[in-house]
Symmetry: C2
Subunit: 142 residues, 2 copies
DNA sequence: GCCGATATCAAGAACTATTCCAATTATTAC
DNA sequence: GTAATAATTGGAATAGTTCTTGATATCGGC
């Protein structure tokens, strides 16, 4: 049994397997939290929230689950400076704006037609596998 | 006495104070290493190299020096994933290309006339203080 | 040049995020 | 149902960095 309609609000159905990864109960719940709270939580944030539903889960398992989900391309791991890693279910290519005042992290999409690699003087022969863009700043009061 | 011409090759003259920071012997030597070896070394790399000239320096002092230099805008701290921080004397706005095969980090300049913020759908009112661009990939054999 | 105030340094302990390990439990394939 | 495999747990271990404390060096005023 995966879930019933009698459970808490906004239930998200998660299949038993995603891109070859067996979705155990723990992985489902970890994934569900990332889906419902798009706050870019840390492993510890996820751990504290997932305990409501799986009181016996360990932090190591949360790390394992997050790693498995990242490895299978189901979520993304995001790092700011040397702070704790954060996790993000938004798979579209995007950057992150880190509000220095509130600490909130906003996803930032590229405007259509933008190809970032064209803007850069890359070393000759460079083949890009991944791009990461992080902005830090404030949001002016309007 | 800061240095003499009899010392090792490619001596770099460093003033006694840079942007309000007192340049102690330790800070000078740390800075000198960053200037002469543009490898984006880690704190530990710097520590090992600086011991040639200051055998009694401690790792904590290297961290302190690097922090002071970063805080005064004399060098930049660069982070990849959650690896050790690396340090970089290149103050011009630039990104980093991380070669996954060799581990070498290449500075990547923006092509002239590019304003990155224009390419992004930022949250309304966002004021950017800092942009960080990291690319990961390989360099194709030519 | 001397003296108190301040800044820096050194050494090691402490801290934190993360990973590793060994034992247990769950799941799958047959 | 059983053996093989994979996942989970809890605690120990690790690595990078920061903190603490006492010693040392530097600065500003006299």
């Amino acid at each position: 049994m995966v879930s019933t309609t009698s459970e808490v609000s906004a239930e998200i159905e998660i299949p038993e397997e995603i891109s070859g990864l067996r979705m155990t109960r723990q992985r489902q719940e970890v994934y569900r939290i990332l889906q419902s709270e798009r706050n870019h939580p840390t492993a510890n944030d996820v751990f504290m929230r997932v305990k409501d539903r799986l009181p016996n889960i360990s932090l190591a398992t949360v790390y394992n689950c997050l790693e498995a989900l990242v490895q299978h391309g189901i979520i993304r791991q995001v790092n700011f400076e040397r702070e704790s890693s954060r996790y993000c279910p938004n798979l579209s290519e995007h950057g992150h704006f880190h509000d220095e005042v509130t600490g909130i992290i906003h996803d930032v999409d590229f405007k259509s037609g933008v190809n970032l690699a064209d803007m850069l003087s890359l070393p000759p022969g460079a083949v890009i596998d991944d791009i990461e863009i992080t902005l830090r700043g404030k949001i002016a009061i309007s």
